[in-house]
Structure formats: structure tokens, C-alpha cells
């Protein structure tokens, strides 16, 4: 991976802000969708698509690309917005989110957007798919394959048993080029994760399943990039990065409120959110 310069870091912070603005515009236009998680993951998506991932927007199906599986499909507004800013989609297309005939389905569907690695929405299935991709790649290219595999998970979806089945297999197979990133924003649809179904001690859980664990500030580009670098240097286990994030990050009236998990801003709220984001640039 390249060295992260201050200049690049500052550029990426600005890019994350633009992506957040796109997310707000998309959600206002759609009239439904998931705000909090989408805003909270903007920094991680930016770091991945503008620094970490080996990919080529002009050749989305490039065989040598790294693979990224979005398990928590409901935060697709930030996924689509990042893909558009990275050059995979026209920016204009973002306003078709959730509309009839759009490639930007309410939850990602690869029949509509062929270059997606998978379709997602029903929670808990992404990590196992990333494990399967990694296993298949190892069969072809061996243990030291240059490809990296990433899976983005929400914390709420860790309630699903399928996740822990994937965790066990990833550890059993010592998938060293697999990195899971957990959006630890502490909320899910019906409330705070620790009220709905406590996940803590989360770090110790993953450690006890034989994964390499790092806990970071999911809004700090330097920490995100650094943690991925460390994960790639771990040679006997898969890695998980528990990224502490603020749901609704960047829009003060949404921040840390679980009520914003699954609803969009109104037109007026959208204006307030956009002016706040613009003022931060």
C-alpha cells in the first residue's frame, strides 16, 4: 500500500464530506432509506475506494481486483455514492435511488448493477460469502495470493448466527488475506445494540474466535488506512477491524440517534444537513 501523505489525507476528508452530501441528497429524493449508518461509514468507504482497494473503475470486472463484500446492504446509499464519486456511475444517477427501473435498488442487487460482488440486504450472509471468495482464490492462487478480501459488517447484524459460522470457518482456514470491518455505531433499528442484544465484550469475542482484532476510530482516515495495513501484515489469521463510528456523523441532529437508522431526512432537514456539511469543508 502507498504511504498516506497529509495532502492525500486532507483530500480524502473533503471527499468523504462530498459523499455525505450525496447521501443526503439521495435520501431526500428517495423519500426512504437508511441515513445514520450511511453517514457513519462515509470515511471508511472513502479510505477504501480512494486509497486501500486495488480496483479499476474503468474496468470494474478486472480479475485482479480486490473483492469487497457489503454485508449490511441497507447502507447502500454510501456505497452507491462512493462508487459514483470513484467513477463507476454517473453522479446524476444517484438521484434514482430506490426508484422504479433504477440500477440503484433499495438494497444492492447485482442483476441491476453487474459489477457488484454480491446482492445484499438480508443481514448476516456477507462474511461467509467473503470467506468463500477467499477460499476459492486460495485454491487457485495459493496462500500468498495478492488479492485482498474485505467484508463490511454492521454491528447489529452480528446478532445473526450465520456471521459466527463464517467467523469460525475463516479462523479454521486461517484466511490471512481476509479483513472484516465492523461499523460499530451502537445502534440498530429498534434501539441501542446493548439494549436490543448486547454484543460486548466484542473485541474479546472475536479474539476468542482466533481472529486478529484492532479497534479504531472509524472517522480517522489515518487510523483506517493504518489498521488495514496492519491487518494485511498478519500472516496466520483473518483480521477484524472494529471501527467505532458515530451514526449520522456530520449532521448534528442525526448523530448518535438510533431513530435515524432507517429513515431519510425530509426536504427541510436535508437542507439543514447539507448546509452543515458544506460549512465543514
Amino acid at each position: 500500500m502507498l504511504q498516506l501523505t497529509d495532502e492525500k489525507k486532507i483530500w480524502m476528508e473533503g471527499k468523504a464530506n462530498e459523499i455525505r452530501q450525496s447521501v443526503i441528497e439521495m435520501l431526500v429524493e428517495a423519500g426512504s432509506g437508511h441515513s445514520a449508518g450511511s453517514l457513519g461509514m462515509a470515511d471508511i468507504f472513502t479510505a477504501l475506494y480512494f486509497f486501500v482497494l486495488k480496483h479499476d473503475p474503468t474496468n470494474p470486472m478486472w480479475e485482479e481486483r480486490d473483492r469487497l463484500v457489503l454485508s449490511s446492504g441497507h447502507i447502500c446509499p454510501v456505497y452507491y455514492a462512493t462508487l459514483a464519486h470513484a467513477g463507476y456511475l454517473p453522479l446524476d444517477e444517484l438521484k434514482t435511488l430506490r426508484k422504479f427501473g433504477s440500477r440503484l435498488q433499495g438494497h444492492p442487487h447485482r442483476e441491476y448493477l453487474k459489477f457488484l460482488e454480491t446482492s445484499s440486504g438480508p443481514l448476516g450472509s456477507g462474511l461467509s460469502q467473503a470467506v468463500g471468495m477467499c477460499l476459492a482464490d486460495r485454491m487457485d492462487n495459493g496462500k500468498y495470493s495478492p488479492k485482498q478480501f474485505y467484508c463490511l459488517l454492521s454491528d447489529g447484524e452480528l446478532d445473526e448466527g450465520n456471521i459466527w459460522e463464517g467467523v469460525m470457518l475463516g479462523a479454521k482456514e486461517r484466511l490471512q488475506n481476509l479483513t472484516a470491518i465492523i461499523d460499530r455505531n451502537n445502534i440498530q433499528i429498534e434501539g441501542y445494540t446493548e439494549d436490543v442484544m448486547p454484543l460486548e465484550p466484542l473485541k474479546e469475542k472475536w479474539e476468542s474466535f482466533n481472529w486478529h482484532v484492532q479497534v479504531i476510530d472509524g472517522h480517522n482516515i489515518e487510523q483506517i488506512v493504518g489498521a488495514v495495513g496492519v491487518a494485511q501484515a498478519v500472516f496466520d489469521r483473518p483480521s477484524v477491524i472494529i471501527a467505532n463510528t458515530i451514526p449520522g456523523k456530520g449532521v448534528s441532529f442525526m448523530e448518535r440517534k438510533w431513530q435515524w437508522h432507517g429513515k431519510p431526512p425530509t426536504k427541510e432537514e436535508g437542507e439543514m444537513a447539507l448546509s452543515e456539511l458544506r460549512s465543514m469543508k
Binding site: E111, S128, Q129, V131, G132, L135, E165, L169
Partner: protein, 328 residues
């Protein structure tokens, strides 16, 4: 009478019997020999689903996921995304029984060419009891867009179904039975996804058509033979491909006989009988009787006891043929 490509020994008491799942085991090795992208996954039922033959020959292409059927199919989906042709096997009750949504979203909705192998399907699993008797799996799978559903009648057909499944770039479900089943077909019997075949045809126009699938096809042929000896002509259509279904063969049989009996080791709701009825009611409605399980769960017993008790034995099929003739 009997399709000339079938086993001549079929009506003999000592007809050779082989578990349908053994055909899968053999077919998978043949498919894997041909294509290095064929991989196998199993959820702690390697021996009993007969994936073991493949696992022994190709250990580096085999993944043991433990007792975790949801994981098995989602991992398989990921492998298919990288160009593999994964075969994921377990008992039908657990896969597709337990992991239906994962199959729906990550395999069928995604249109990934994963092959789901459900062994020990039907009630003839026997002593294990109702929890292990999958009588709903055809319904679960044939409702999914993109999914191909195959239900072979013997081990040889299962081998061919496995080889064909590996070749087609679509998700496939193959339903296998545990019990030893008489060999009906031979290596020469044609097999094609989407095509049904007449297995037994009297020389004159038939009065009743039996449309059967899986291990009960043998009983359907015995019934047709018994009626032939009484001068009543009954044709038997074998349906190995439940989806896509051979509409033409079903409609032709209904036009000829005006009386249809469906036979399956599955709930009559949602299974082969329903599929046939859907075709006929829209194209050529005729009286129809459905042999299968009627709104009940299974229980412990020998396969023969259970087949008789739940109305799928030779006498039950014969009575259904008589009933449907009276309804013409």
C-alpha cells in the same frame, strides 16, 4: 411397453438396488475430473451424502464447514462468485430446509451456479422420524426464480443429473433419497434438463397417465404393468426435471388420456402434483389425482411401512388410477 433404454430386469424380484445418493457421489467425481472448478462443501454429512468420494480424490477442493448449513451455502455463493462450481451437500431437511433465505438471496437472486444437494429427502428416511424427513423441499426450491430443480428416479439418473448440473451455469437443486432404490434406467437412457420421458407405454392409446418423480417412479411402473395385465392401458411419464418442467410432454399425455395421476414422495401441496396441475389447469384441464403426502408430517418406521401408511404404495396408486378413470 417398457421404454427400450430402461433396465430389462426392472420387474424382477431381484432387480439391482442402489441408493440414489450413490449416483450423486459417483457423478460428482466424474464432473470434477472434467472441470477443475468443481468444488465441494459439506456440513458434517460427508459420508452419508456421498460427497466423500470427491473429498478423498480432491481434498484441496473440498471444504468442511461443520454443522452449519447457512454457512455452507453462503460460502458456496462466494466461491461461485470467483468462478467455482460449488456442490453443497447435506440432508434435504437442513439444506434447503434450514437455509432457504440464504439460498434465495445469495444463490438464486444472485444467479450464482451453486448446486445444492439435498440427500435423505422424502419419508423413506424411515426410523429417524419426522424431523429428518424432508417432504417440503421441492416446494421450497421450485418457487425460486433462476433455480433448476432435479429429482432423479435412481442412482444412474442421479449420476447424469449431477454431471449435467455441473455443466449448466445456473443454480441447481438435486433431490436424493437415502434408501436403496431399484435401478430403472441404464447408461443408455437419455437425460436432459427440462425434458420428461415416457418410461412405460402400452401398445394402444393409454386410458390414464401417471406422472411420477424420484424413487416412486419404480412403483408407478409396477402399477402400469399390473393394469396392462388386466387390459387397462396406463402410461408412465418420468419427471426428473421439475423445473424447468416439460409442459409439452405433460399436455400431450393429458390430451391422450384425459386422466392424470401424479406420484411423488413429497407434500402434494407445492410439489410435483401442484406443478403438473398448474400446467394442466392453464392448458388442458383433465381430472387428476395426487399421490403424495397429504398435509401431515412423517414418523418413525421402516420405509415400506411409511410409504404404505401415507398412501404412496402400489395399492394406493392403483386406487388413484381407478378413481381418476371414473371421473372422466
Amino acid at each position: 411397453m417398457l421404454n427400450s433404454s430402461l433396465n430389462k430386469n426392472l420387474f424382477n424380484e431381484n432387480v439391482e438396488k442402489v441408493s440414489i445418493r450413490f449416483g450423486f457421489g459417483e457423478g460428482l467425481v466424474l464432473a470434477a475430473d472434467k472441470d477443475k472448478n468443481v468444488v465441494g462443501l459439506c456440513a458434517d454429512l460427508n459420508e452419508s451424502s456421498q460427497m466423500s468420494l470427491f473429498a478423498k480424490k480432491y481434498p484441496l477442493r473440498f471444504v468442511q464447514v461443520g454443522v452449519a448449513e447457512q454457512n455452507m451455502v453462503t460460502v458456496a455463493s462466494g466461491m461461485a462468485a470467483m468462478g467455482k462450481i460449488p456442490f453443497a451437500s447435506s440432508y434435504a431437511m437442513f439444506s434447503p430446509g434450514r437455509n432457504w433465505e440464504q439460498i434465495r438471496t445469495t444463490i438464486a437472486y444472485n444467479d450464482r451456479p451453486v448446486k445444492i444437494i439435498g440427500s435423505h429427502a422424502g419419508i423413506s428416511v424411515g426410523p429417524d422420524g419426522g424431523t429428518h424427513q424432508a417432504t417440503e423441499d421441492i416446494a421450497l426450491m421450485r418457487v425460486l426464480p433462476n433455480m433448476i430443480v432435479l429429482s432423479p428416479c435412481d442412482a444412474i439418473e442421479a449420476k447424469k443429473a449431477t454431471i449435467e448440473a455441473a455443466k449448466i451455469n445456473k443454480p441447481v437443486y438435486i433431490r436424493l433419497a437415502r434408501e436403496k432404490t431399484p435401478l430403472i434406467t441404464t447408461e443408455d437412457t437419455p437425460f436432459e434438463i427440462g425434458k420428461a420421458q415416457i418410461f412405460f407405454a402400452p401398445p394402444m392409446d393409454a386410458q390414464v397417465g401417471i406422472i411420477a418423480t424420484g424413487a416412486l417412479v419404480h412403483k408407478a411402473i409396477i402399477v402400469a404393468q399390473n393394469f396392462a395385465q388386466k387390459g387397462i392401458s396406463v402410461k408412465v411419464l418420468n419427471i426428473a426435471s421439475i423445473r424447468p418442467l416439460d409442459f409439452e410432454a405433460i399436455i400431450n399425455l393429458a390430451e391422450e388420456t384425459n386422466a392424470i395421476v401424479s406420484v411423488e414422495e413429497h407434500q402434494v401441496v407445492g410439489g410435483l402434483g401442484s406443478a403438473v396441475a398448474e400446467v394442466l389447469v392453464q392448458n388442458y384441464p383433465v381430472p387428476m389425482e395426487l399421490i403424495g403426502i397429504h398435509d401431515k408430517y412423517g414418523q418413525s418406521g421402516t420405509p415400506d411401512e411409511l410409504i404404505e401408511h401415507y398412501g404412496m404404495g402400489v395399492p394406493s396408486i392403483e386406487r388413484a388410477v381407478e378413481r381418476v378413470m371414473q371421473r372422466k
